[in-house]
């Protein structure tokens, strides 16, 4: 078992960035097609990042490089932990720590856009963090039901239950999908930064990052997206072989739906984002937990 876990972590380390980079390219192509345009090549995100590394890096201070690098390192660390199948609480904790580094990177400059972006990024964390915790608790309770008593936070146990966890966690899955839009920084919740131009905050958190530093943040986002899709897949995994294609298909479908949502919705204000996110968390996540606690 340990061998499989190490192999899956290594595969993530090698392919995690490439897969999400390709997905980002498909996302841009799909968005263009939805808008009646031809769109860039699917490999465009790779061209962009390669260019960023070849350009001059205008750093405002030496700290910027260290912070951006730490963000990348911690995101990759989070993903490696996840795909190695360790405790899911540890994984989510590492994710929050990584997210703080993006905020640090933004606040290390005194640009108003960057600082506002950082504040909004923290608002986003405030909005999605409760649902992330409920997701972890939900996974624990689902293993408890499947094992008849003994629950586990270990990802490896969650992924090898008798049934996919989604059977017990439909509400939590919906809630997680909702905060996924915030995590992907996609419209309507792309308030701290966005890959489209013309927003009131210029580029929000990444406004003052350039060249190599921006390139590292981009790569970190790719790894982050692969990890998040991994969590989506986790809802569908069980000890049957057919759960693997099911999980991959579900993750791909979720990414497709996110792209559509991104294209058909307009950015909301942060107040509405927090209200909506918490509302969905309480209704979907809370109800699901209550049902698990009192009915099963």
């Amino acid at each position: 078992m340990l061998v499989y876990r190490i192999i899956s972590a290594v595969i993530y380390l090698i392919l995690g960035g490439i897969v999400a980079g390709l997905l980002a390219g498909i996302d841009r192509k799909l968005s263009a097609r939805l808008q009646g345009r031809r769109g860039p090549s699917v490999l465009q995100p790779f061209y962009d990042v390669a260019k960023l590394f070849s350009k001059e890096t205008l750093a405002l201070n030496h700290g910027q490089f260290v912070i951006a690098f730490s963000f990348l390192l911690l995101i990759v660390f989070t993903g490696v932990l996840f795909f190695a199948g360790v405790d899911i609480l540890l994984v989510f904790l590492a994710l929050s720590t990584a997210a703080m580094f993006l905020v640090f990177a933004a606040t290390s400059s005194n640009s108003a856009m960057s600082t506002m972006g950082a504040q909004r990024e923290m608002m986003q964390m405030l909005a999605y963090e409760p649902m992330v915790l409920i997701t972890a608790v939900g996974f624990y309770m689902s293993t408890q039901i499947m094992n008849g008593g003994e629950g586990s936070f270990k990802i490896i146990d969650i992924a090898t239950g008798d049934l996919p966890s989604i059977v017990y966690l439909p509400g939590i899955f919906l809630g997680f999908l909702f905060i996924l839009t915030i995590k992907f920084r996609k419209s309507p919740f792309d308030i701290s930064t966005s890959h489209h131009a013309h927003q009131e905050l210029v580029k929000g958190v990444t406004t003052d990052l350039s060249g190599r530093n921006l390139g590292m943040i981009e790569i970190a986002h790719w790894y982050e997206n692969t990890f998040l899709l991994g969590v989506v897949a986790l809802f569908f995994l069980s000890n049957d072989w057919w759960s693997i294609p099911l999980a991959v298909g579900a993750a791909a479908l979720v990414y497709f739906i996110e792209t559509i949502i991104d294209n058909v919705s307009a950015r909301v204000k942060w107040e509405l984002m927090v209200k909506l996110a918490w509302g969905v968390t309480i209704v979907c996540g809370g109800l699901n937990l209550l049902v698990l606690e009192y009915i099963f």
């Binding site: 031809r38 205008l58 013309h198 350039s210 921006l214």
Partner: protein
């Protein structure tokens, strides 16, 4: 090595234009012209930009702004002056506050004449700018290597 010409990010600044050229610049992003198919993104952020696209002439007030935007762009970078106003002041040339074209403030690499410059002409200008950008990237790499030694 990475080809900068495959991912040119663009910064558009409206000097003292009549907005005619700006509408044509935006037209380039629409489905009809779709410059994103070349990887071009309108960033609106000098620190992410490779191409500086200026419409309208330079006046006493915006001279410093244009200079600062130019300075905030990381090397290698190119400047495209779009519309006859940006080339030499155009119809506003004799106005009391106009100094002249964009080259009165920063070095310009490509001039796109026209009033207003048509989207086709703007795309042509940007493609020409990509050639210049390629040259500049090579020079930039050389300089970096020399510095490293």
């Amino acid at each position: 090595m990475a080809k900068i010409t495959k991912s040119p990010w663009l910064l558009h600044y409206d000097g003292s234009s009549c907005n005619g050229c700006d509408i044509e610049v935006l037209a380039c992003l629409t489905p009809v012209y779709d410059v994103e198919r070349f990887g071009i993104i309108n960033t609106g952020n000098p620190k992410h930009a490779d191409i500086f696209l200026v419409t309208g002439g330079i006046n006493e007030k915006n001279k410093a702004v244009v200079k600062q935007l130019y300075d905030q762009m990381p090397e290698p970078k190119v400047v495209v002056a779009v519309g006859i106003c940006a080339c030499n002041g155009g119809v506003f040339k004799d106005a009391y506050n106009i100094i002249g074209g964009v080259d009165k403030a920063i070095p310009v690499d490509v001039y796109v004449p026209g009033c207003a410059a048509r989207p086709e002409a703007i795309i042509d200008g940007v493609v020409k700018a990509l050639g210049v950008l390629d040259e500049k990237q090579k020079a930039f790499k050389e300089a970096k290597k020399k510095k490293g030694v």
